[in-house]
Symmetry: C2
Subunit: 182 residues, 2 copies
Protein backbone atom coordinates (compact mmCIF):
# COMPACT_ATOMS: atom_id res chain seq x y z
CA UNK A 1 0.00 0.00 0.00
CA UNK A 2 1.36 3.41 -0.88
CA UNK A 3 2.18 5.93 1.83
CA UNK A 4 -0.38 8.78 1.73
CA UNK A 5 0.45 12.18 3.20
CA UNK A 6 -2.29 14.82 3.08
CA UNK A 7 -1.05 18.35 3.79
CA UNK A 8 -3.47 21.15 4.68
CA UNK A 9 -4.19 23.69 7.40
CA UNK A 10 -5.80 22.60 10.66
CA UNK A 11 -9.26 23.19 9.17
CA UNK A 12 -12.01 21.23 7.41
CA UNK A 13 -11.90 23.47 4.32
CA UNK A 14 -10.76 21.98 1.04
CA UNK A 15 -9.15 18.89 2.59
CA UNK A 16 -12.22 17.57 4.38
CA UNK A 17 -13.64 15.72 1.35
CA UNK A 18 -10.42 13.66 1.15
CA UNK A 19 -10.46 13.05 4.91
CA UNK A 20 -14.03 11.69 4.54
CA UNK A 21 -12.84 9.24 1.88
CA UNK A 22 -9.92 8.12 4.06
CA UNK A 23 -12.18 7.76 7.11
CA UNK A 24 -14.93 5.85 5.32
CA UNK A 25 -12.57 3.48 3.50
CA UNK A 26 -10.37 2.89 6.53
CA UNK A 27 -7.23 3.62 4.51
CA UNK A 28 -4.33 4.79 6.70
CA UNK A 29 -2.80 8.18 5.97
CA UNK A 30 -0.72 10.94 7.47
CA UNK A 31 -3.04 13.87 8.24
CA UNK A 32 -0.36 16.55 8.13
CA UNK A 33 -1.82 19.83 9.46
CA UNK A 34 0.34 22.91 9.09
CA UNK A 35 0.29 26.12 11.13
CA UNK A 36 -0.65 29.35 9.38
CA UNK A 37 2.63 30.83 10.67
CA UNK A 38 4.63 28.21 8.75
CA UNK A 39 2.78 28.73 5.45
CA UNK A 40 5.09 31.37 3.91
CA UNK A 41 7.99 28.93 4.34
CA UNK A 42 6.06 25.95 2.92
CA UNK A 43 4.26 27.65 -0.01
CA UNK A 44 7.28 27.93 -2.36
CA UNK A 45 8.03 24.21 -1.93
CA UNK A 46 4.62 23.13 -3.26
CA UNK A 47 3.79 22.93 -6.99
CA UNK A 48 1.25 25.68 -7.79
CA UNK A 49 1.69 27.01 -4.22
CA UNK A 50 -1.65 25.90 -2.79
CA UNK A 51 -2.88 23.29 -0.34
CA UNK A 52 -4.23 20.69 0.02
CA UNK A 53 -1.67 18.45 -1.59
CA UNK A 54 -1.46 14.67 -1.36
CA UNK A 55 1.87 12.87 -1.54
CA UNK A 56 1.59 9.34 -2.89
CA UNK A 57 4.95 7.60 -2.61
CA UNK A 58 6.74 10.85 -3.35
CA UNK A 59 4.50 12.17 -6.16
CA UNK A 60 2.69 15.38 -5.18
CA UNK A 61 -0.92 15.69 -6.38
CA UNK A 62 -2.45 19.17 -6.04
CA UNK A 63 -6.06 20.45 -6.29
CA UNK A 64 -8.53 19.29 -3.64
CA UNK A 65 -11.00 17.63 -5.99
CA UNK A 66 -8.34 15.88 -8.08
CA UNK A 67 -6.99 14.43 -4.81
CA UNK A 68 -10.42 13.36 -3.55
CA UNK A 69 -11.41 11.83 -6.90
CA UNK A 70 -8.15 9.84 -6.99
CA UNK A 71 -8.79 8.53 -3.47
CA UNK A 72 -12.45 7.80 -4.27
CA UNK A 73 -11.41 5.73 -7.28
CA UNK A 74 -8.80 3.85 -5.28
CA UNK A 75 -11.41 2.96 -2.65
CA UNK A 76 -14.47 2.18 -4.83
CA UNK A 77 -16.29 5.40 -3.88
CA UNK A 78 -16.20 7.13 -7.28
CA UNK A 79 -19.18 5.40 -8.92
CA UNK A 80 -19.64 1.89 -10.31
CA UNK A 81 -19.58 2.62 -14.07
CA UNK A 82 -17.93 5.27 -16.27
CA UNK A 83 -21.25 7.14 -16.58
CA UNK A 84 -21.85 6.98 -12.80
CA UNK A 85 -18.33 8.31 -12.26
CA UNK A 86 -19.08 11.20 -14.63
CA UNK A 87 -22.34 11.95 -12.81
CA UNK A 88 -20.57 11.92 -9.42
CA UNK A 89 -17.94 14.28 -10.88
CA UNK A 90 -20.74 16.53 -12.19
CA UNK A 91 -22.47 16.72 -8.80
CA UNK A 92 -19.17 17.48 -7.06
CA UNK A 93 -18.44 20.32 -9.52
CA UNK A 94 -21.98 21.66 -9.10
CA UNK A 95 -21.56 21.80 -5.32
CA UNK A 96 -18.10 23.28 -5.74
CA UNK A 97 -19.40 26.01 -8.07
CA UNK A 98 -21.71 26.98 -5.20
CA UNK A 99 -19.05 26.83 -2.49
CA UNK A 100 -16.64 29.05 -4.44
CA UNK A 101 -19.28 31.79 -4.71
CA UNK A 102 -18.54 32.75 -1.10
CA UNK A 103 -15.90 35.48 -0.69
CA UNK A 104 -13.76 33.39 1.68
CA UNK A 105 -10.86 35.83 1.68
CA UNK A 106 -12.96 38.96 2.36
CA UNK A 107 -11.59 40.68 5.48
CA UNK A 108 -14.27 43.37 5.90
CA UNK A 109 -16.84 41.71 8.19
CA UNK A 110 -19.83 43.75 6.95
CA UNK A 111 -19.07 43.09 3.28
CA UNK A 112 -18.48 39.43 4.10
CA UNK A 113 -21.71 38.99 6.05
CA UNK A 114 -23.70 40.76 3.35
CA UNK A 115 -22.23 38.58 0.59
CA UNK A 116 -22.75 35.37 2.57
CA UNK A 117 -26.37 36.32 3.25
CA UNK A 118 -26.98 37.16 -0.41
CA UNK A 119 -25.69 33.77 -1.52
CA UNK A 120 -27.62 31.89 1.18
CA UNK A 121 -30.81 33.76 0.30
CA UNK A 122 -30.55 33.90 -3.49
CA UNK A 123 -28.38 30.97 -4.60
CA UNK A 124 -28.72 28.20 -1.99
CA UNK A 125 -32.44 27.50 -2.64
CA UNK A 126 -31.78 26.79 -6.33
CA UNK A 127 -28.93 24.40 -5.50
CA UNK A 128 -31.11 22.57 -2.96
CA UNK A 129 -34.03 22.34 -5.39
CA UNK A 130 -31.81 21.00 -8.20
CA UNK A 131 -30.03 18.48 -5.94
CA UNK A 132 -33.37 17.34 -4.58
CA UNK A 133 -34.73 16.79 -8.10
CA UNK A 134 -31.56 14.90 -9.07
CA UNK A 135 -31.72 12.75 -5.92
CA UNK A 136 -35.40 11.92 -6.49
CA UNK A 137 -36.37 8.71 -4.69
CA UNK A 138 -32.83 7.37 -4.61
CA UNK A 139 -30.91 6.77 -1.38
CA UNK A 140 -27.69 8.14 -2.82
CA UNK A 141 -27.03 10.89 -5.31
CA UNK A 142 -25.51 8.59 -7.95
CA UNK A 143 -26.16 4.89 -8.51
CA UNK A 144 -27.09 2.40 -5.82
CA UNK A 145 -24.35 3.02 -3.27
CA UNK A 146 -22.58 5.91 -1.59
CA UNK A 147 -20.07 7.91 -3.64
CA UNK A 148 -17.78 10.81 -2.89
CA UNK A 149 -20.54 13.09 -4.30
CA UNK A 150 -22.65 12.24 -1.21
CA UNK A 151 -19.65 13.06 0.97
CA UNK A 152 -19.12 16.39 -0.78
CA UNK A 153 -22.75 17.30 -0.24
CA UNK A 154 -22.25 16.50 3.44
CA UNK A 155 -19.22 18.81 3.56
CA UNK A 156 -21.33 21.57 1.96
CA UNK A 157 -24.33 20.91 4.21
CA UNK A 158 -22.15 21.02 7.32
CA UNK A 159 -20.97 24.47 6.24
CA UNK A 160 -24.52 25.66 5.42
CA UNK A 161 -25.90 24.56 8.78
CA UNK A 162 -23.23 26.57 10.58
CA UNK A 163 -24.27 29.80 8.86
CA UNK A 164 -26.33 32.18 11.01
CA UNK A 165 -27.78 33.46 7.71
CA UNK A 166 -29.19 30.05 6.75
CA UNK A 167 -32.97 30.15 6.83
CA UNK A 168 -35.02 27.64 8.81
CA UNK A 169 -36.76 26.31 5.67
CA UNK A 170 -33.37 25.76 4.04
CA UNK A 171 -32.11 23.87 7.06
CA UNK A 172 -35.18 21.66 6.93
CA UNK A 173 -34.71 20.93 3.25
CA UNK A 174 -31.08 19.90 3.85
CA UNK A 175 -32.12 16.27 3.93
CA UNK A 176 -29.03 14.16 4.08
CA UNK A 177 -28.39 11.75 1.24
CA UNK A 178 -25.40 10.48 3.23
CA UNK A 179 -26.76 7.85 5.54
CA UNK A 180 -25.07 6.32 8.53
CA UNK A 181 -23.03 3.26 8.62
CA UNK A 182 -21.00 0.95 6.58
Amino acid sequence: MPHYKLTYFNLRGRAEISRYVFAYSGKKYEDHRIEAADWPKIKPTIPFGKVPVLEVDGVIIHQSLAIARYLARETGLAGQTPVEQALADAIVDTIDDFMVLFPWAEKNQDVRTQAFNDILTNKAPELLKDLDAFLGDKNWLVGKSVTWADFYWDVCKHFLLLQPGSRKDQRQSCRPPVQTGK
Copy 2:
Protein backbone atom coordinates in the same frame (compact mmCIF):
# COMPACT_ATOMS: atom_id res chain seq x y z
CA MET B 1 -20.89 2.46 -29.63
CA PRO B 2 -23.12 4.80 -27.63
CA HIS B 3 -24.79 7.76 -29.29
CA TYR B 4 -23.19 10.99 -28.00
CA LYS B 5 -25.05 14.30 -28.20
CA LEU B 6 -23.21 17.40 -26.97
CA THR B 7 -25.45 20.42 -26.41
CA TYR B 8 -24.01 23.93 -26.09
CA PHE B 9 -24.22 27.36 -27.64
CA ASN B 10 -22.55 28.07 -30.99
CA LEU B 11 -19.34 29.05 -29.19
CA ARG B 12 -16.04 27.48 -28.11
CA GLY B 13 -16.60 28.31 -24.43
CA ARG B 14 -17.09 25.46 -22.00
CA ALA B 15 -17.81 22.82 -24.65
CA GLU B 16 -14.59 23.20 -26.63
CA ILE B 17 -12.54 20.88 -24.41
CA SER B 18 -14.99 18.04 -25.16
CA ARG B 19 -14.99 18.89 -28.88
CA TYR B 20 -11.15 18.58 -28.82
CA VAL B 21 -11.43 15.10 -27.30
CA PHE B 22 -14.01 14.06 -29.90
CA ALA B 23 -11.94 15.51 -32.75
CA TYR B 24 -8.64 13.96 -31.62
CA SER B 25 -10.10 10.53 -30.92
CA GLY B 26 -12.21 10.46 -34.06
CA LYS B 27 -15.31 9.44 -32.08
CA LYS B 28 -18.53 10.42 -33.86
CA TYR B 29 -20.94 12.72 -32.03
CA GLU B 30 -23.82 15.09 -32.55
CA ASP B 31 -22.49 18.65 -32.05
CA HIS B 32 -25.84 20.21 -31.13
CA ARG B 33 -25.48 24.01 -31.10
CA ILE B 34 -28.41 25.96 -29.76
CA GLU B 35 -29.42 29.55 -30.49
CA ALA B 36 -29.36 32.05 -27.63
CA ALA B 37 -33.01 32.88 -28.46
CA ASP B 38 -34.04 29.27 -27.74
CA TRP B 39 -32.22 29.09 -24.38
CA PRO B 40 -35.11 30.18 -22.12
CA LYS B 41 -37.19 27.33 -23.57
CA ILE B 42 -34.39 24.75 -23.25
CA LYS B 43 -33.00 25.71 -19.80
CA PRO B 44 -35.85 24.23 -17.67
CA THR B 45 -35.51 20.87 -19.47
CA ILE B 46 -31.87 20.42 -18.44
CA PRO B 47 -30.80 19.11 -14.99
CA PHE B 48 -29.14 22.01 -13.10
CA GLY B 49 -30.14 24.36 -15.95
CA LYS B 50 -26.72 24.87 -17.51
CA VAL B 51 -24.92 23.82 -20.67
CA PRO B 52 -22.87 22.04 -21.88
CA VAL B 53 -24.58 18.72 -21.33
CA LEU B 54 -23.70 15.41 -22.94
CA GLU B 55 -26.34 12.78 -23.62
CA VAL B 56 -24.97 9.24 -23.63
CA ASP B 57 -27.68 6.82 -24.71
CA GLY B 58 -30.31 8.91 -22.93
CA VAL B 59 -28.39 9.71 -19.72
CA ILE B 60 -27.65 13.42 -19.36
CA ILE B 61 -24.23 14.31 -17.94
CA HIS B 62 -23.79 17.96 -16.91
CA GLN B 63 -20.71 20.07 -16.02
CA SER B 64 -18.17 20.73 -18.77
CA LEU B 65 -15.19 19.11 -17.04
CA ALA B 66 -17.11 16.03 -15.88
CA ILE B 67 -18.15 15.55 -19.53
CA ALA B 68 -14.65 16.08 -20.90
CA ARG B 69 -13.05 13.78 -18.28
CA TYR B 70 -15.58 11.04 -19.11
CA LEU B 71 -14.79 11.34 -22.83
CA ALA B 72 -11.03 11.49 -22.14
CA ARG B 73 -11.25 8.25 -20.15
CA GLU B 74 -13.31 6.56 -22.83
CA THR B 75 -10.70 7.47 -25.46
CA GLY B 76 -7.45 6.89 -23.56
CA LEU B 77 -6.68 10.61 -23.16
CA ALA B 78 -7.09 10.88 -19.37
CA GLY B 79 -3.62 9.61 -18.31
CA GLN B 80 -2.10 6.14 -18.28
CA THR B 81 -2.16 5.40 -14.52
CA PRO B 82 -4.40 6.47 -11.60
CA VAL B 83 -1.75 8.97 -10.44
CA GLU B 84 -1.34 10.38 -13.97
CA GLN B 85 -5.12 10.74 -14.19
CA ALA B 86 -5.11 12.65 -10.90
CA LEU B 87 -2.32 14.92 -12.13
CA ALA B 88 -4.20 15.61 -15.39
CA ASP B 89 -7.32 16.41 -13.32
CA ALA B 90 -5.23 18.73 -11.13
CA ILE B 91 -3.82 20.63 -14.13
CA VAL B 92 -7.29 20.97 -15.64
CA ASP B 93 -8.68 22.38 -12.35
CA THR B 94 -5.70 24.75 -12.06
CA ILE B 95 -6.36 26.13 -15.55
CA ASP B 96 -10.08 26.27 -14.80
CA ASP B 97 -9.50 28.22 -11.57
CA PHE B 98 -7.73 30.79 -13.75
CA MET B 99 -10.40 30.87 -16.47
CA VAL B 100 -13.24 31.42 -13.99
CA LEU B 101 -11.50 34.52 -12.58
CA PHE B 102 -12.69 36.46 -15.64
CA PRO B 103 -16.04 38.25 -15.17
CA TRP B 104 -17.60 36.64 -18.26
CA ALA B 105 -21.08 37.96 -17.53
CA GLU B 106 -20.04 41.57 -16.90
CA LYS B 107 -22.02 43.84 -19.24
CA ASN B 108 -20.27 47.16 -18.49
CA GLN B 109 -17.47 47.28 -21.08
CA ASP B 110 -15.14 49.49 -19.01
CA VAL B 111 -15.47 47.35 -15.90
CA ARG B 112 -14.99 44.24 -18.01
CA THR B 113 -11.88 45.51 -19.81
CA GLN B 114 -10.35 46.67 -16.54
CA ALA B 115 -10.97 43.30 -14.86
CA PHE B 116 -9.63 41.34 -17.84
CA ASN B 117 -6.50 43.50 -17.92
CA ASP B 118 -5.95 43.09 -14.19
CA ILE B 119 -6.13 39.31 -14.47
CA LEU B 120 -3.90 39.18 -17.54
CA THR B 121 -1.34 41.44 -15.85
CA ASN B 122 -1.41 40.10 -12.31
CA LYS B 123 -2.57 36.48 -12.46
CA ALA B 124 -1.58 35.09 -15.87
CA PRO B 125 2.21 35.32 -15.33
CA GLU B 126 2.01 33.15 -12.21
CA LEU B 127 -0.06 30.51 -14.01
CA LEU B 128 2.40 30.46 -16.91
CA LYS B 129 5.40 30.20 -14.57
CA ASP B 130 3.82 27.36 -12.57
CA LEU B 131 2.74 25.43 -15.69
CA ASP B 132 6.17 25.90 -17.19
CA ALA B 133 7.83 24.53 -14.03
CA PHE B 134 5.42 21.59 -14.01
CA LEU B 135 6.01 20.87 -17.72
CA GLY B 136 9.80 21.00 -17.26
CA ASP B 137 11.57 19.08 -20.05
CA LYS B 138 8.58 16.89 -20.81
CA ASN B 139 6.75 16.99 -24.15
CA TRP B 140 3.35 16.74 -22.49
CA LEU B 141 2.05 18.07 -19.22
CA VAL B 142 1.41 14.64 -17.68
CA GLY B 143 3.13 11.36 -18.47
CA LYS B 144 4.62 10.41 -21.82
CA SER B 145 1.67 11.08 -24.13
CA VAL B 146 -0.95 13.72 -24.74
CA THR B 147 -3.82 14.03 -22.25
CA TRP B 148 -6.90 16.21 -22.04
CA ALA B 149 -4.84 18.50 -19.73
CA ASP B 150 -2.75 19.49 -22.78
CA PHE B 151 -5.99 20.13 -24.68
CA TYR B 152 -7.36 22.30 -21.87
CA TRP B 153 -4.20 24.35 -21.84
CA ASP B 154 -4.64 24.82 -25.59
CA VAL B 155 -8.23 26.04 -25.01
CA CYS B 156 -6.93 28.50 -22.41
CA LYS B 157 -4.00 29.63 -24.56
CA HIS B 158 -6.29 30.21 -27.53
CA PHE B 159 -8.35 32.53 -25.34
CA LEU B 160 -5.27 34.32 -23.95
CA LEU B 161 -3.81 34.98 -27.38
CA LEU B 162 -7.06 36.66 -28.48
CA GLN B 163 -6.91 39.18 -25.64
CA PRO B 164 -5.76 42.66 -26.62
CA GLY B 165 -4.54 42.99 -23.02
CA SER B 166 -2.17 40.02 -23.26
CA ARG B 167 1.43 41.19 -23.10
CA LYS B 168 3.99 40.29 -25.74
CA ASP B 169 6.22 38.42 -23.25
CA GLN B 170 3.22 36.39 -22.10
CA ARG B 171 2.40 35.48 -25.68
CA GLN B 172 5.99 34.35 -26.20
CA SER B 173 5.97 32.19 -23.08
CA CYS B 174 2.74 30.47 -24.21
CA ARG B 175 4.79 27.59 -25.57
CA PRO B 176 2.47 24.88 -26.70
CA PRO B 177 2.69 21.56 -24.92
CA VAL B 178 0.11 20.29 -27.41
CA GLN B 179 2.10 19.20 -30.42
CA THR B 180 0.83 18.38 -33.86
CA GLY B 181 -0.13 14.95 -34.90
CA LYS B 182 -1.49 11.88 -33.32
